[in-house]
Structure formats: C-alpha cells, structure tokens
C-alpha cells in the first residue's frame, strides 16, 4: 500500500466526519450490522429517530486503522457528533439509557424508547429502518 493511498483514506474519513452532523463508523451496514456492538449502537440511534450517516469499516482494513489513528479509540463502532467522538457502543448505550444521547443529538426522546431490551430486539428483528444516508468511504476515492 502506498502512503498516498493511506493519506487519501485518512482525508476521506476526516472529510466524512466534518460533513455529517452525526456519523457512525460500524461493522456492516445499518440494515445488516456485522457485529452485536454495531447493531446495538444503530438500534439506539434508530430508537431516537436520529438521522445519521454510516460507514462500513470492513471493506478495507485501512479504514479502521486510519479511523483509530484519528480518534485515538481502538474499537468499532465509533459515533461522531458535530465532528467529535461521542463514544463507542458502551458510552452510546449509557447515554441512551440516561437520556443524554437524545440531548447530544438534538432530538426528542420518544416515549417507550427507554429499555435496552427493546433496542436489542429491534436490532435483532431487523425491523428498524435506517434513517440516514449510508456513506462508503471507498466511493470517495475513485
């Protein structure tokens, strides 16, 4: 791999973070999460009806490598709001349960969206629909 390509990936990630008010880097897509932690994070965002962009880190290992270098955060998923890392799955779920996530995202907390079990069930059933655009970093590199 050339360092030029790596720099392009890093720039594309930085640009995506800057362009999207809420952007989730995850394994898989909101429609088909490839990891339970990513699935739970997507479900929390969807339970709040929060629009978000999503990036699948799996197609190219360099996406994850560069993302973690930018964010100083070792794990996936990573949720960025307003250009800043809000957290991974644990922090997002903690903030969801406390109501802080809705506040951070500037959305209203819908009634009945207060149980983790409900969030998990939504993710597993596949009933939840993505509410935001799905961005693929590699599309920006053509």
């Amino acid at each position: 791999m050339s360092s030029t390509e790596t720099n392009q990936i890093r720039e594309a990630i930085e640009q995506a973070i800057a362009e999207h008010p809420t952007i989730l880097f995850m394994k898989g897509s909101p429609e088909a999460p490839a990891c339970g932690f990513s699935a739970r994070t997507v479900a929390a965002l969807q339970a709040l009806d929060a629009p978000f962009a999503a990036v699948d880190v799996l197609p190219d290992p360099r996406i994850r490598q560069e993302l973690s270098a930018i964010s100083d955060w070792p794990t996936i998923p990573q949720l960025f709001v307003g250009g800043e890392l809000l957290g991974g799955c644990d922090i997002v779920m903690e903030m969801y349960e406390s109501g802080e996530l809705a506040a951070a995202l500037g959305v209203e907390e819908p009634a009945g969206a207060d149980t983790v079990a409900g969030v998990g069930a939504t993710a597993l059933s596949g009933a939840a629909q993505p509410t935001g655009g799905f961005t693929q970093i590699e599309n920006r590199l053509g």
């Binding site: 932690f37 100083d72 955060w73 070792p74 794990t75 890392l85 809000l86 957290g87 991974g88 799955c89 644990d90 922090i91 903690e94």
Partner: protein, 75 residues
C-alpha cells in the same frame, strides 16, 4: 489469552486505587465486560475514562481480547 482475573489485576495495578469487576461475557475467553471505579476518573469525561483503560491493553484490544465492554465511574 488473558483471563477475567488477569484483566482485573492489570487494571487495578495500572490505575492506583481503582477497583475493577471483570467477567467473561460470553464464556469464550475473548469478550469481557469490566466495571472500573477509580478516583482518577474524576473530572474526566467518559471518552477519556475509557481511553485510560484501553491504553492498558493497547493492541490486545481487537486481538486476543476481542472485546472489552467498559463502564467507568469515579468514586
């Protein structure tokens, strides 16, 4: 591959005065869940608190430790 007990000891050794409860989430020896309480977390946001714990394990996170789910709190 580290055990839950080893992870607990490494966290408590690395963060003086901390208490860690660690369990093997799936029983498979690579997905762990830890609750860490430390006075050192006071004044830091959650991101910074989690980074302190992640840094103890470095590249082991995502490697032999596939996942380390964290809950952190100050005393």
């Amino acid at each position: 591959m580290p055990t839950a007990e080893e992870i607990k000891q490494r966290i408590e050794a690395a963060i003086p005065g901390s208490r860690a409860e660690v369990d093997d989430w799936t029983g498979g020896g690579d997905h762990f869940r830890a609750t860490v309480t430390a006075a050192a977390f006071a004044g830091r946001n959650r991101i910074e608190q989690h980074r302190v714990v992640y840094e103890i394990f470095g590249a082991e996170i995502g490697g032999p430790i596939h996942a380390l789910s964290l809950k952190t709190q100050s005393d």
